[in-house]
Point group: D2
Chain length 155, copies 4
């Protein structure tokens, strides 16, 4: 998850993360739009041959990233954020705005582990840090290490 | 789409349809539960090596068919019916109850072609028959022929 | 419930029904838009001093009927149909298209009594007629009588 | 909005806020459950004769607060949070957990003014403080003053 508007640096990290997710044979799921962190992470995964799923807020194919292989059209606007996090085994939150914060919050509420990649919102969720449900990492490589550790412990 | 409770005959037809969908390299999407038409069609597609997506009404993996490779958890109950039909390029409605009728109705309203496979509800949607959006077929093989004809004409 | 496009005759009946609902001190709930059966029934209820609730498919006040006192904005498109029927104790389906048929189907599936007012779709739901969950009436007055009978028996 | 689990002090403040909302002839809308901030604020408003609307996550009347006069049943779980904020002209966020944070985030994203009543999450939304969309107040009385100021400026 991450902002539909994002800096070049954050998009590069998201691209790299998407690539590593595909190289680990995991499925990448995001909000599916052709913008920001969504586009960058889907592009990274798709270029590495991975499966990419997008849970779209609208019903028009025009907003779907070309790197999303399986677009799920909800036409439910931001209500689809809950689908994003329920469907994910692990959520990685990249820098974003209130949409990404809502997904972080809903994921934690739903018991999904969340890894913040260079996204400084942990303070208001500190009880989940203590519960080992919320993690902070600085780079795509560290995020992948964390995912592996979570998969070993949780699943 | 089709009933979560279904006759053996209807399940056999749904299994066969799922297999043919996979053999044509199309993706099968349904409601994802481990019951009735959903289970049967997913089983047919999965056994033939196809990709199967389930849009689940709940959030628990316990209700997911083992033949669904990609479960999308919505926790939105029957509100997820609209996602089923918006996400499908073509909807096949197998025999079912009011849930399946609601999906047929929402698909037609959303401009998605619907093929009724041995499901006798066309009368109340007759204006869509005239518009060539609603079709009636008797067997999985005929449904596949109809899908091919629609794909040629619409896409 | 009923079509957003509706004949003058059907709108007159819906207006009358809305008035009678308000005069019986019941709350009128519909899809809330400023069109067809929704506008007519809300107008009838509001002019008689009743409370009117609209469950809107969008998020813009521009599509809200001026006769809706409490607009609930969902921005969920047709997924809001399930909210319409779950929130209603009794559903009256006036003539409409696939949207109204989907609401009739979802209401019956959810165990809500449905009264069809001059809307000929009972054939495909015949099992619910037998279960005394689906009723057919010809006029607003007959619908009100039926509501009173249901309220006596069910609640 | 606020936690379904809340301290006695926070519930007292929510009760007082509900009462003041009703005394100002505004409609109180919340998540509708019979717990925490929802129950307390609805009770305050209902006891003062106000209209109270609850947007419920489930479909069972058993979880509805007795102080909610108009329960809207969504059966959409946390997806209903977006309805809560879209339907509100102004959102007051009382102390809560991730659900309340998600509502704060979604409200700001949707352009709804948010007043945090003794709820310390403003830091991650600081850009909205600068835009005069997010406000911090300490008491129900101060929240009411802020609502009046917003109503004067925005509507």
């Amino acid at each position: 998850m991450g902002g539909s508007a994002a800096s070049e640096k954050d998009c590069r990290a998201a691209f790299c993360l998407g690539r590593l997710i595909a190289e680990n044979n995991w499925i990448l799921l995001n909000g599916g739009r052709n913008r920001g962190i969504m586009e960058a992470s889907a592009k990274g995964a798709a270029k590495a041959g991975g499966i990419t799923i997008g849970i779209l807020p609208g019903k028009d194919y025009g907003e779907v990233s070309e790197y999303i292989k399986i677009p799920v059209l909800t036409n439910m606007g931001d209500a689809r954020n809950i689908i994003n996090v329920l469907t994910s085994n692990i959520v990685v939150a990249c820098p974003g705005g209130p949409g990404t914060i809502s997904e972080t919050a809903l994921a934690l509420k739903s018991g999904r582990p969340v890894i913040l990649m260079d996204f400084a919102v942990a303070d208001i969720f500190h009880s989940y840090v203590k519960k080992n449900l919320l993690f902070r990492e600085k780079s795509p490589e560290k995020v992948i290490d964390r995912i592996k550790a979570i998969l070993t412990n949780y699943f």
